[in-house]
């Protein structure tokens, strides 16, 4: 009896702890409000909290009514895609218009373009209400660095911009004896073997675009030195170099992940030396993860001439339960007084209440008067920054899906053989013969794959799967052969 009482009291104390520590919710509860908006978002909790609170305040000021922001967060980009697919499939079968969600907020341009292609996004009123905000010389340009910032049919628009870059742990680099990586090529250094953290291009359109840009950068380099007659050949050389760079980086990789926060976390802990990382996570860890001496454990920088500035969009879903509020949310996100929320320090006027979001507003005019001192990224104006790459849709745009699948069969599915061959070659001093076999990408050349492979990226999933099996086997056979040659060379006296 006594023992039972002790356990009961212990359990009661454990349950009481959160009750005692509970803070008043910053917003209003769902039951006691005038209006409600449902937002589907892969944005992190900090962005949701800051934008939710700011919108509640904005809505109150504008309409005098209270509102509850109902965030729906099933996971990352791929889970959201599956939720939207399941919802609209059922809606179509049951003759409904929408899926009970008003707004889709956050993700990559490819994700939104995909939904727009399916006709699931409604035209945005903000383009009619504030035509002066949009245009080549206006606050929100139609495109920058080759990336679209709003769709031509006005069904989605970017709210902030971001780019992939390289994050590294200075102490780990010191241990490995490697200079800080500046270009994507630097991540192909064999000293990084087993030390790189890479994003998975098969689960996110934005990451797939980052890999595409990596290939484009190599094609640009190749094209920089040719006369007009040699353009196609130069493209092919650049394409092959791009694939080889992806091979080398992948051979160094510990893993490919779809978790945006895993990479900076592992790097800041020293469990990975460097990796591919989106800017706002990089900046957040750079500012918060410090050594005992106060130095950053992670340093982030955009890859030189290796990344574009892509938009992070917002859209109103077709059949939204509260279309007027949804349209107002888009207007709110793009309004000049809300945009600084993305990059101001917490607690400063116009800034977030609790946490810095470390993101770059899309509106150009926010930067026009100079970057405010209370910004988390002083001195950084994405629109004047040098070292950006300009995305050229003509170069690889048609091969977007093909390239993603190629990375899967060449590097992700074949990762074990790839790593094994790479380590064997490293130990043997990279014998030329082995390297030649290892980096043979002639059977996936630009001529055949650079404009999209009909089988690999075709509509028939079974044909695509068969093609992937065949190509994967070919790559793995090469890796096994390269490993064999390297071991033979090493064994030679």
């Amino acid at each position: 009896m006594k023992r039972g009482l002790v356990i009961f009291l212990l359990l009661a104390a454990i349950v009481a702890l959160p009750l005692l520590l509970r803070r008043e919710a910053p917003g209003t509860g769902p039951g006691e409000v005038d209006d409600r908006i449902v937002i589907l978002s892969p944005h992190n909790e900090s962005i949701r909290a800051e934008f939710g609170t700011a919108f509640e305040r904005w809505w109150k000021q504008r309409t005098g009514r209270t509102i509850y922001v109902d965030w729906r967060t099933p996971g990352g980009a791929s889970e959201i895609r599956m939720v939207i697919d399941a919802g609209y499939k059922a809606a179509k079968e049951t003759g409904r218009q929408g899926i009970g969600v008003d707004v889709y907020f956050g993700g990559g341009e490819p994700d939104f373009s995909e939904q727009a292609r399916h006709g699931r996004l409604a035209p945005l009123d903000v383009f009619k209400l504030h035509p002066g905000w949009f245009g080549p010389d206006e606050a929100v340009p139609p495109s920058f660095t080759g990336e679209r910032y709003y769709s031509s049919d006005h069904t989605w628009v970017g709210c902030c911009v971001s780019r992939f870059g390289i994050a590294y742990n200075p102490e780990t680099l010191k241990r490995l004896g490697v200079a800080p990586p500046v270009f994507w090529d630097d991540l192909g250094n064999p000293k990084f073997a087993g030390e790189l953290a890479l994003s998975d291009p098969t689960k996110s359109g934005s990451v797939a675009r980052a890999f595409e840009l990596l290939v484009q950068e190599q094609m640009r380099r190749s094209l920089g030195h040719v006369n007009p007659d040699g353009i196609e050949a130069a493209k092919a050389v650049g394409w092959a170099n791009g694939l080889r760079l992806i091979q080398r980086m992948s051979a160094n990789a510990r893993y490919f992940t779809d978790s945006a926060s895993k990479i900076p976390r592992d790097i800041s802990q020293g469990d990975a030396a460097a990796g591919m990382c989106i800017d706002f996570y990089g900046r957040s860890y750079q500012s918060d993860a410090l050594t005992k001496e106060g130095a950053p454990r992670l340093v982030w920088a955009p890859a030189n001439y290796g990344s574009t500035l892509s938009a992070d969009p917002v859209a109103v879903l077709q059949g939204a339960p509260s279309p007027e509020i949804a349209q107002a949310f888009v207007e709110f996100c793009l309004s000049p007084e809300i945009q600084p929320l993305w990059f101001l320090k917490p607690g400063t006027p116009g800034g977030p209440e609790r946490r810095a979001l470390h993101r770059m507003p899309i509106r150009r005019d926010v930067y026009a008067a100079g970057i405010p001192e209370n910004s988390t990224m002083p001195g950084e104006n994405p629109y004047t920054g040098i070292g950006n790459l300009t995305y050229d849709r003509e170069l690889t745009g048609h091969a977007f899906g093909t390239l993603r699948r190629l990375v899967k069969v060449m590097c992700i599915d074949s990762h074990e053989e790839l790593k094994d061959a790479w380590l064997a070659m490293r130990d043997a001093g990279f014998p030329e013969e082995a390297m030649k076999v290892f980096s043979d990408v002639s059977f996936v050349g630009y001529e055949e794959f650079g404009h999209g492979d009909r089988e690999l990226d075709g509509k028939d999933p079974f044909v695509s799967a068969r093609r992937a099996t065949e190509l994967g086997e070919r790559f793995r056979a090469n890796y096994r052969r390269a490993a064999g040659i390297a071991r033979e060379r090493r064994a030679e006296p």
Binding site: A91, T202, D258
Partner: protein
């Protein structure tokens, strides 16, 4: 059990499984077999199945999964059996608390469990920092524990996480054992080892089989541990990666079916070989344990064995606890800055209190449903002579082998407005019924296995006697059967409750509105906070661990003391 009743219960359970398991699973997995035709319409094709076996990477993934399943099960057995046997045979120092404590490692919060493991075993983790300090490792060449010998590492981690499943089932079987059987063998001059193999082991075989089958399927389909080791050439990871891919690739669904069929075949096969044991011992004696009192060194050795397993298995948990308290933890054995701030911030979050209430409701509801259905399954499987009872026994194990994500999206598709399961979504979008059912279906195998093992170990003579004295079937069930298999039901129910509280996929996908979030989704939400998200998630994870640990050890300690229906 009367044949008519058995047939009725058999079909009722089959209908439940068909509606709440096979239908949602098929809604998603069916994509692998139903191929859209260019001119509209669909056709059935097994091309994706062929592709799974044509692709050497998938073949290797399946083989690795099988090896991990067998090795994980064997390693868990090697840990669990000696412990359960020691606890059964001997009284030693701190036994009551130690036998409860070793159940705690099964409670590892999702998402942060992997981070905790990395904090301990990562290149820059606590273990290496400790070895640097001792001078046993060169800081310039740290050992990468998670990158070398990954298969062995996964087996070890699985064993240290899953042995409580086996321990609970074996302990329940041993508690049903009539010591008179062993005493009789001893009196007849049977030496201890022979007695163990000829008397004890056959009698507890139903319990071993119950736990081993769950652990095998779990290890065979385990996703989280291989991901911690970045080991992707294993079928469950290939399924997970494929489902989340942008390609709408049907292969992962075919691979899911292969996993399901393989699990079923292995279970059915081993059931034929091992599951036929029906010890049907006399009703176990009530009262005190028959354990021999140990003193001095032997007593300490027994306690040491329990403590060693607990400490080793709690390494990831220790990582999570330290993480939740760390202001900074980088390259040191322990955090060099300690703080309670993460607890204040995490537990003060307005998501947390409702999520605790929700999780308790969802998990309790699911456990009740699973226990009720589990008893019904066990009655048909063990106490009826239906020819198809073995099929039912096998079918209830199948939910263990289907990835959570597949089931979650199956339910999601079917609960949309106008779809057959929409009635499960309550007023204001409450997913209570939906989550209770989703959790219960996936946790049914634990309870069903334990209940089957319990009935197999108990002689039907008591129930028959009750019926012959005029007790109704319901009264017999309530007053005789359930008390008889109480230890087994408690073991299964405890597993079902703990794992329902920590469920991930259904919780993330089906609990859509913040006021309906269970704890796991609250942990997931906190995890994505910029800055100290991992530490906040760890703090809430620690809260859940402590709550479940106290509930489990408390229940085990109280039950063990009473020596009645909950003897572990």
């Amino acid at each position: 059990m009367k044949r008519g009743t058995a047939i009725l219960v058999f079909w009722a359970i089959l209908a439940l499984l068909a509606v709440f398991f096979f239908y949602p699973a098929w809604t998603i997995v069916g994509q692998a077999f139903v191929v859209p035709q260019p001119g509209g319409g669909t056709r059935i094709s097994f091309a994706s199945f062929i592709e799974v076996f044509r692709n050497p990477v998938y073949r290797e993934g399946l083989w690795n999964a099988f090896v991990l399943g067998i090795a994980g099960m064997s390693a868990s057995l090697l840990v669990a059996f000696p412990l359960a046997w020691l606890a059964h045979r001997y009284e030693f120092a701190g036994k009551r608390w130690l036998t409860a404590l070793i159940l705690v490692p099964m409670v590892l919060p999702p998402f942060v469990g992997a981070v905790g493991m990395k904090q301990m075993l990562g290149v820059n983790g606590a273990l290496n920092a400790f070895l640097f300090k001792l001078g046993w490792m060169d800081p310039a060449v740290p050992h990468d524990w998670l990158a070398h010998g990954r298969m062995a590492g996964i087996v070890l981690m699985n064993a240290l996480h899953l042995y409580p499943v086996l321990y609970l089932n074996i302990a329940a079987a041993l508690s049903n054992l009539d010591p008179a059987m062993e005493q009789a063998a001893a009196n007849l001059g049977c030496p201890p080892w022979r007695r163990f193999f000829r008397v004890t082991l056959p009698l507890v075989m139903p319990g071993v089989f119950a736990g081993a089958s769950v652990v095998f399927i779990w290890s065979f389909t385990e996703l989280g541990v291989p991901l911690v080791f970045d080991f992707t050439r294993v079928a469950p990871v290939q399924v997970f990666d494929g489902i989340k891919g942008l390609d709408n690739n049907p292969i992962p669904y075919a691979l899911t079916t292969v996993l399901l069929v393989a699990s079923t075949l292995v279970f059915a096969g081993s059931r034929l070989v091992l599951g036929r044991y029906r010890s049907r011992s006399s009703p176990r004696p009530s009262g005190k344990s028959s354990g021999r009192k140990l003193r001095g060194l032997p007593s300490l050795a027994c306690a040491g064995a329990f403590l060693a397993v607990f400490i080793l298995a709690s390494l990831p948990h220790a990582g999570v606890v330290l993480l939740s308290l760390s202001g900074r933890w980088y390259g040191t054995v322990l955090p060099d800055v300690l703080t309670l701030e993460h607890f204040r911030e995490a537990l003060g979050n307005d998501l947390v209190v409702p999520s605790i209430r929700n999780s308790l409701l969802y998990a309790s509801g699911a456990t009740l449903v699973a226990v009720a259905v589990g008893i019904a399954v066990a009655r048909v499987v063990v106490r009826s002579d239906l020819r198809l009872r073995g099929v039912l026994d096998t079918l209830v194990m199948m939910p263990l082998a289907v990835p959570g994500l597949v089931m979650a999206f199956g339910y999601l598709a079917l609960t949309q407005e106008g779809k057959p399961f929409h009635f499960l979504v309550g007023a204001g979008g409450s997913p209570f019924l939906l989550l209770v059912i989703a959790y219960a279906v996936r946790r049914l195998p634990y309870v069903a296995r334990s209940a089957v093992a319990g009935l197999q170990s108990s002689d039907p003579v008591m129930e028959e006697a009750a019926r012959s004295f005029g007790a109704t079937a319901w009264r017999t069930l309530r007053r005789v059967t359930i008390p008889l298999i109480g230890a087994n039901l408690a073991a299964g129910g405890m597993l079902a409750f703990a794992f329902a509280m920590l469920e991930v996929s259904d919780s993330l996908i089906l609990a859509q509105q913040a006021q309906h979030f269970p704890i796991t989704k609250a942990i997931y939400t906190l995890l994505s906070t910029l800055g100290n998200g991992t530490e906040l998630a760890a703090a809430l994870g620690v809260w859940s661990m402590v709550f479940l640990a106290v509930a489990i050890t408390g229940a085990a300690a109280i039950g063990g003391r009473r020596g009645g229906w909950f003897r572990l």
